[in-house]
């Protein structure tokens, strides 16, 4: 099975099947990252699609100096950060898959209330803290990879997460008190 880097080199030469294979392999992570960051399906899909198109556009100049996933996360992160600067995030109306699949109405109501609280808390975070949280808590990237994705040092990422955690704890209130 070809590596991501080999597929990128093939895509640079015009091999659209190779590009398609990259999309299939990594569409989940692009989608998840965008969704957790912007909070609604429409914008998340647009961002995730655009990320892959940007990857295709830049394929000829791609150099495998880092893992492809780090490169893709960086493209997605930059698009999300630009999106937030241009447009206020709209988190209305989107509920998580998990909440809607719970068996009882009470459980669903509790889950929805928790998710609304989490969304409001994430919305209040500064852009880079929010992205660090998404990459850490939802994508479970190691600190070094988050640093490479966000063009920061690992120490700076630690600080971003620490500040974000304080804000989130304050906003989540009883949900985070256990």
């Amino acid at each position: 099975m070809a590596s991501d880097e080999e597929l990128m080199l093939s895509a640079a030469g015009g091999d659209m099947e190779a590009f398609g294979e990259l999309v299939l392999r990594h569409q989940d992570r692009a989608w998840r990252t965008a969704y957790h960051y912007v909070g609604n399906r429409a914008d998340a899909e647009e961002l995730a699609q655009e990320a892959f198109l940007r990857v295709l556009d830049a394929a000829a100049s791609y150099r495998p100096s880092a893992r492809f996933t780090t490169y893709l996360y960086r493209v997605v992160a930059n698009l999300c950060l630009d999106h937030r600067r241009k447009k206020r995030p709209d988190r209305q109306g989107d509920l998580s898959h998990r909440a809607s699949s719970l068996p009882s109405a009470d459980a669903q109501m509790e889950a929805r209330e928790r998710e609304e609280t989490v969304r409001r808390a994430l919305d209040k975070l500064p852009d880079r803290q929010r992205m660090a949280v998404v990459l850490r808590y939802y994508e479970e990237l190691p600190l070094r990879e988050i640093a490479a994705t966000m063009d920061a040092t690992p120490k700076a990422v630690e600080r971003l997460l620490a500040r974000a955690r304080e804000c989130l704890a304050a906003e989540l209130g009883t949900w985070a008190e256990g």
Binding site: A12, F19, Q27, R41, Y137, L143
Partner: protein, 169 residues
């Protein structure tokens, strides 16, 4: 370790990112510091609450829509664009704007040069028509009229005057 350093590293600790030595130092600190112990518990709860929000799956048809847009982008690219150039291409509108700017600039430059040349010719013809008695005045050499005798300038003035009037100055 200081409390600030410990609390900065709690996410790394919970995620298993830290070196064993650093983990050990944090654990030792937390055992003796109630504030950092509380911060560690809180960090764990925040993490747990956030991770309960699971996104919906990738929308159906996402792959097909991406590929359709990708093929459309490739289709609209100039056929002469090589693979190596594709990745560094400048948007078409930018290239068109630069080309238009160059053409306009060259046209303006050509018009200005033509205009200046015509102006210079007209001035010369006017001077000849007026019939300046002193040939040197056509070339604005009046200030050489008092050139010292035997000087190079004087010789030049004499030469020009001789050709015009047949008389030496």
């Amino acid at each position: 370790m200081l409390c600030a350093d410990v609390q900065d590293k709690l996410d790394g600790y919970l995620g298993g990112d830290l070196e064993p030595e650093t983990r050990g130092a944090i654990e030792a600190h937390v055992r003796g510091c109630s504030i950092c112990a509380q911060a560690l518990n809180q960090a764990g709860r925040v993490r747990a609450v956030l991770r309960q929000c699971i996104p919906p799956p990738v929308p159906q048809g996402f792959y097909e829509r991406v590929m359709a847009r990708a093929h459309e982008r490739r289709r609209l690219e100039p056929v002469w664009l090589t693979a190596s150039q594709r990745g560094r291409r400048v948007p078409v509108i930018w290239r068109a704007a630069v080309a238009a700017g160059l053409i306009v600039g060259l046209a303006i430059g050509a018009l200005m040069a033509t205009d200046l040349r015509q102006q210079a010719v007209q001035e010369t013809l006017l001077a000849v028509e007026v019939g300046e008695p002193d040939a040197t005045s056509v070339y604005g050499l009046d200030y050489f009229a008092s050139a010292p005798t035997g000087s190079l300038v004087g010789a030049f003035v004499s030469l020009v005057s001789f050709e015009e009037t047949g008389e030496r100055r």
